[in-house]
Amino acid sequence: MPDPGSYILLGAVLFAIGMVGFLARRNLIVMFLSTEIMFQGVVLNVVAFSRLHGRLTGDAYGLFLLVIAAVEAGLALGLVVLLYRRKHTLDAESWSAMSG
């Protein structure tokens, strides 16, 4: 089993890639897929720290993270459907009418 350092580095890279997707893409669906990638990085991280300290707390956190991810996906996709019904586009920039 590799050291936790490898997992933490991998988690950081996955988090960064997901953040790039969330900030740079304009399609609402791809934006939320990117947040799920960020979740994956965090799950790898908590499990790696759990192994570092020899406890199972991180595994339990990972399971709760799955719950949060499911909640987030459900609400976000409901919102996406609602927004798509209004404007018939998935473009996040079409909702920037209030920006200065």
């Binding site: 089993m1 590799p2 050291d3 936790p4 350092g5 490898s6 997992y7 933490i8 580095l9 991998l10 950081a12 890279v13 996955l14 960064a16 890639i17 997901g18 953040m19 790039v20 900030l23 740079a24 893409r25 304009r26 669906i29 791809v30 897929l33 990638i37 994956q40 799950v43 499990v47 759990s50 192994r51 570092l52 020899g54 406890r55 199972l56 707390t57 595994d59 339990a60 990972g62 399971l63 709760f64 799955l66 719950v67 949060i68 991810a69 909640v71 996906a73 459900g74 996709l77 409901g78 996406v80 459907v81 609602l82 798509y84 209004r86 404007k87 018939h88 586009t89 998935l90 920039e93």
Partner: protein, 259 residues
């Protein structure tokens, strides 16, 4: 020394993602692939030199770690959302394998069932519902990719700058049930052999021991989210005109309700 190599690798990786980002002029996908694979190889080589005990066989870790990074990069850069979802499934499978390598089998299986089985199917449904014909500018033009990459990889670099200090922490593999929630000593302190054989039982004892309240709260959270999602998506909304507004903007809110 390691942080500086990592900073260079992150800069090159950011450049690879920038090249692969969808642009109206067309993305330099081949150059991005070559650069990205090079960066991943460098990252894995660095990991193998500095973080891993020399005798352990970590072939699967490197294989699936590299595949996960590559697939994640493709999710955020692919111009077709359907393919993004498929690559996301690949990320999930790779992360599940990495969790199995860390002996977190239950978490890995739960990840596959919940993500690949439930969440991804929901995404696929929404992609089908919100189908847009042909290539639209939403997918072919990224929004400020340079700034996004800069911000993200600066954060990753900040984490990587501290990564050498992790090895200083002594690693001890005694499986213990955390006693943070209650001061009552918990009888299910697991022997290390149980952690070796499989951690499903151990994690069950944690979830329904000290974390029982949190499990119940998660159930309530899921219920709230379900009610909320139904309430959001059942609401009938008028389709908004994309052209000129019919009424002057000043009247909305006074004589005309905003929605």
């Amino acid at each position: 020394m390691i942080p500086y190599i990592l900073y260079v690798l992150f800069a090159l990786g950011g450049a690879a993602i920038y090249l692969a980002m969808p642009k109206p002029s067309g993305s330099q996908r081949r150059a991005a692939l070559v650069l990205g694979v090079g960066v991943i190889a460098g990252l894995l080589a660095l990991m193998s030199m500095h973080f891993v005990a020399p005798n352990s066989n970590n072939f699967f870790f490197y294989m699936f770690a590299g595949l996960a990074i590559l697939a994640a990069g493709r999710v955020v850069t692919h111009p077709v959302p359907t393919y993004s979802a498929v690559y996301f499934a690949l990320v999930i499978l790779c992360v599940a394998v990495l969790l199995v390598i860390q002996r977190a089998e239950f978490l890995a299986v739960a990840l596959i069932i919940i993500y690949a089985g439930a969440i991804l199917v929901t995404y696929a449904f929404v992609i089908m519902l919100a189908q847009q014909s042909g290539a639209v500018s939403t997918d072919t033009r990224a929004r400020e990719p340079l700034m996004a990459i800069l911000v993200s990889f600066v954060i990753a670099g900040a984490i990587a700058g501290k990564i050498e200090q992790i090895d200083a922490v002594p690693v001890k593999m005694t499986a213990q049930v955390p006693q943070a929630v209650t001061d009552v000593p918990i009888e299910t302190t697991l022997p290390a052999t149980e952690m070796e054989s499989g951690h499903t039982k151990a994690i069950g004892e944690i979830m329904f021991g000290p974390y029982l309240v949190v499990v119940e709260l998660s159930g309530i959270l899921l219920l709230i989210a379900m009610v909320g999602a139904i309430a959001i998506s059942r609401k009938q909304v008028p389709i908004e005109d994309t052209g000129e507004p019919k009424l002057p903007v000043g009247q909305i809110g006074r004589e005309v309700p905003p929605f």
